[in-house]
């Protein structure tokens, strides 16, 4: 206040302004609010999944006698039971469990990268970022295999009403059950995969910056922390996607 000659000071409480009331920089707050917003996007998709599934009949017979049919929603263990190199062996959910493990492991290495950033240990940040990128890329590779297998289908396929057999799935037909099952699978895991892919790109960018010493010169590794928030969020979303598509 230029006009006042007073020595009175304004209030200085947590929410009285002139500070960061949530003890977070604006960049970190923005990331949090973006993630909140993104959570609603995924939330909408998962609700679409739930309602679409609710509209279809469940399979009521014996699990051993299960066959693929457009009449009912398939049992996930019967759809996702393949493993690369083990052709014809029934390994329910083994591969997706491995994928999930890899993604969760990448979250652990991300935490270690952030922690190394707090210590201003450039070498450790580089190391753990590289591991995170590696695990992220492996997850994407696994998803590509999973998709390829889902699209190709198995030898039995599904017998249609007109006597033909269809094999595999795409956006309009599906050997494993109602077409909507495949639509939702492609759409939601694809949307999540896009997020993982963006995450890997972001990680590569901050990895290059770290190697060039950008953050070291800046005096803090907050950017690693922000990308870390995003990465953990993407992992968390996978847990929900996994639960919806594979477990229930």
């Amino acid at each position: 206040m230029s006009t006042s000659t007073t020595l009175e000071a304004p209030n200085t409480g947590t929410w009285d302004g002139g500070n960061e009331p949530l003890k977070a920089s604006y960049g970190k707050l923005m990331m949090w609010f973006f993630l909140l917003s993104d959570a609603f996007t995924f939330g909408a998709f998962l609700i679409v999944y739930g309602l679409s599934r609710h509209k279809h009949l469940p399979y009521t017979g014996e699990p051993d006698a299960f066959t693929f049919s457009t009449e009912w929603w398939p049992i996930p263990e019967k759809v996702f039971n393949a493993f690369p190199g083990f052709h014809g062996v029934d390994l329910p959910l083994a591969f997706v469990a491995l994928m999930t493990m890899i993604l969760i492991l990448s979250s652990v290495t991300m935490v270690l990268a952030v922690e190394a950033g707090h210590r201003m240990d450039k070498n450790d940040v580089q190391k753990w970022l590289l591991w995170t990128i590696l695990f992220g890329a492996i997850f994407l590779g696994c998803q590509a295999w999973e998709w390829a297998h889902f699209i190709t289908g198995d030898e039995t396929g599904m017998l249609m009403a007109d006597g033909t057999r269809i094999f595999g799935a795409n956006l309009t037909m599906n050997q494993y059950g109602p077409p909507l099952f495949a639509d939702l699978f492609f759409f939601i895991t694809g949307f999540h995969g896009t997020h993982v892919f963006s995450g890997v790109i972001l990680l590569l960018m901050i990895f290059i910056n770290t190697v060039n010493g950008v953050y070291h010169k800046r005096g803090h590794y907050e950017m690693v922390e922000k990308v870390g928030l995003y990465w953990h969020f993407v992992d968390l979303v996978w847990v929900f996607v996994f639960t919806f598509f594979y477990l229930i």
Partner: protein, 608 residues
């Protein structure tokens, strides 16, 4: 409560910071790709005005059709080309026009044009910040909006026309390009444009929220914020949580349209031929859409609540009545806006019990809304009212909000809605309560903050003419629509003269159209006043309205960084108008209590 050393240190620090802000900018940095919140706010305002005239013009075109359904409009052929054959407007183009009118007005004018302008312009100025948290993202926000605008604008000139399935783009109509022309290329461009628009909203929204949380000046606690900031803050949160759901809905619709999926489609025959889609549900889209759609109407109206509260208190020269109740009701409305969406879907065949739940929740909104109205009226009560143009619009806003709000209570009843759904009663309701009211709030803001935006005053006489013509024609347009609606007159009908029951309303429809044309013409008075005053208006002083909030402590035309010296600190709430014992009838927020001992209240004495 005083300390010498602290303030001296701060002075030195801020003097340094100020130096960094003065670097020469070229034309592009300054006016086109600007990262200054004030320039970005003005960019949103100009785009908003541009779109408002297009949206208004479309409404005049379809009002011509509705007012004189059997007339021939050969004079429209030079403008509309192939869309007018033998003087008759193409029915599918009529649908496209109402769709685009709704889309443009709701999203491009009253969301981007309103929040974009005033959140950008006022948040840093009123909380005492140099700029938004991230100027770069703020700039991106405008340019994404600009891209969305270009795509939407181009879609107006497609041979198959712009989107035509209504602004709510319900599938299956919008999902099947073979259904109507309006579901072809125009619909694709609508979806692309809206996806870009949502990105713009997201970038703007996170910026507004973080700026309000982190960049308030010293002393500006949440309960010393002007109500405008509270309104913008909550609007941004609503947008942040509801737009992503529209994004999801739009993405799924894009897949249904272009990639053969069946999310919203099932058991459809076109031309006697069955489509392959199976298993989807069109009602699902309505749920997703209205989960955005209902908060969206509050995204449109909340900012104007803030603007009107501010302008009414300033021009009634009285503190706002029930400041905390105003914040509470804003919070209440924001919260409730997420749990009432299905009142748009009472007649879709949903469970009547669910209908009564949503009816109950909907009617609760009347409570916080009524709190706001009572507080505005109580603020006006026995005030020293100055009828500036902004004040005229603000008072008229309250009037429109009451008129439109009362019919909301009627429409919120799930049983009454069976009769009134998709009639002109609904049109009248939402045009009064969120269309015209939000426009009046926007005019209030433009007339009130024009001096700070452009350093000059708008002409008050032209403003008064603009106000009275607009105000009268808004009521002349929408009041008769209630009667049409109760009589069952359906919305979105191109031609009604073949229905015996509706022929008696021919004169009333012509009357409405004449009033609409009058209202639209009045906006050119505003346009002239606006453009003329930017260059030739009377120069404004720093605080022409004798207002308390921080933006009026800046120079008449604030430069980059807003305050030439240190950012002022804040000591009091923004509504100390006509305080007993005070010399002036206003005490700006920057004046400490120690300087106003004659007017301090007992509980303020210990802060002296």
């Amino acid at each position: 409560m005083s300390s010498t050393d602290i303030s001296i240190n701060k002075d030195v620090h801020h003097a340094h910071e100020e130096h960094d802000h003065h670097h020469d900018q070229n034309f592009f940095e300054k006016y086109i790709f600007s990262q200054d919140h004030k320039v970005i706010g003005k960019q949103f305002l100009f785009m908003g005005i541009f779109w408002a005239f297009i949206g208004g013009f479309l409404s005049i075109l379809f009002r011509l059709q509705l007012g004189w359904p059997d007339a021939t409009f050969t004079f429209l052929e030079p403008i509309l080309g192939g869309w007018v054959a033998n003087g008759k407007i193409d029915p599918e183009f009529y649908l496209a026009m109402v769709t685009m009118h709704g889309t443009i007005m709701v999203f491009f004018v009253l969301t981007a044009g309103l929040s974009g302008t005033f959140s950008n312009f006022l948040i840093p100025l009123q909380i005492g910040a140099r700029d938004m948290a991230s100027g770069f993202m703020n700039m991106l926000s405008f340019w994404f909006f600009f891209l969305a605008s270009i795509v939407m604008f181009i879609s107006l000139f497609l041979e198959t026309g712009p989107a035509g399935g209504g602004w709510t783009i319900y599938p299956p109509l919008s999902a099947l390009p073979q259904a109507i022309k309006g579901s072809a290329g125009g619909m694709t461009m609508w979806l692309v444009s809206m996806a870009l628009f949502i990105v713009s909203q997201l970038l703007g929204g996170v910026n507004y929220i973080t700026t309000v949380i982190n960049l308030r000046t010293k002393g500006m606690s949440m309960t010393k914020l002007p109500l405008t900031i509270w309104a913008f803050f909550l609007t941004a949160i609503l947008g942040l949580l509801s737009f992503p759901v529209l994004f999801s809905a739009a993405l799924l619709l894009i897949f249904d349209r272009s990639f053969g999926t069946s999310f919203y489609l099932s058991d459809i025959y076109i031309g006697g031929e069955a489509l392959a889609h199976t298993g989807g549900s069109p009602i699902l889209f309505q749920h997703l859409f209205w989960f955005l759609g209902h908060p969206e109407v509050y995204i449109v109206i909340l900012p104007t609540f803030g603007i009107v509260s501010e302008v009414i208190a300033t021009n009634a020269r009285k503190p706002i009545f029930g400041y905390r109740a105003m914040i509470g009701s804003l919070l209440g409305i924001s919260l409730l806006s997420f749990v009432v969406w299905a009142h748009h879907m009472f007649v879709t065949g949903m469970n009547p019990f669910l209908g009564s739940v949503f009816m109950f929740l909907t009617l609760i909104i009347a409570v916080p809304s009524a709190v706001k109205v009572f507080n505005w009226l109580a603020t006006l009560w026995r005030g020293n009212i100055r009828f500036t143009t902004a004040m005229l619009f603000a008072v008229a806003f309250v009037s429109l909000f009451i008129s439109g709000g009362l019919t909301g209570i009627i429409l919120g009843n799930s049983s009454l809605d069976i009769q009134l759904h998709d009639t002109y009663f609904v049109i009248a309701h939402f045009h009064l309560v969120m269309g015209a009211a939000a426009f009046f709030g926007m005019f209030t803001g433009v007339y009130h903050w024009f001096p700070k935006m452009f350093g000059r005053m708008l002409d008050e006489k032209l403003g008064a003419v603009h106000f009275w013509m607009t105000f009268v024609s808004v009521y002349l347009v929408f009041m008769p629509m209630h009667y049409l609606g109760i009589a069952g007159f359906p919305r979105r009908y191109y031609s009604w003269s073949t229905f015996e029951a509706f022929n008696v309303f021919a004169d009333m429809n012509s009357f409405i159209s004449i009033a609409a044309i009058m209202g639209f013409s009045a906006q050119f008075i505003f346009l002239f006043n606006f453009i003329y005053s930017i260059f030739r208006g009377r120069r404004a002083s720093a605080n022409p309205w004798h207002s308390n909030t921080l933006e009026w402590t800046t120079p008449p035309l604030p430069g980059h960084g807003n305050w030439p010296g240190e950012i002022p600190a804040v000591y009091r709430w923004p509504y100390d108008y006509s305080k007993p014992g005070s010399v002036e009838d206003y005490i700006p927020q920057t004046v400490p209590f120690s300087q106003t001992q004659s007017s301090n209240l007992p509980n303020e004495r210990d802060q002296e």
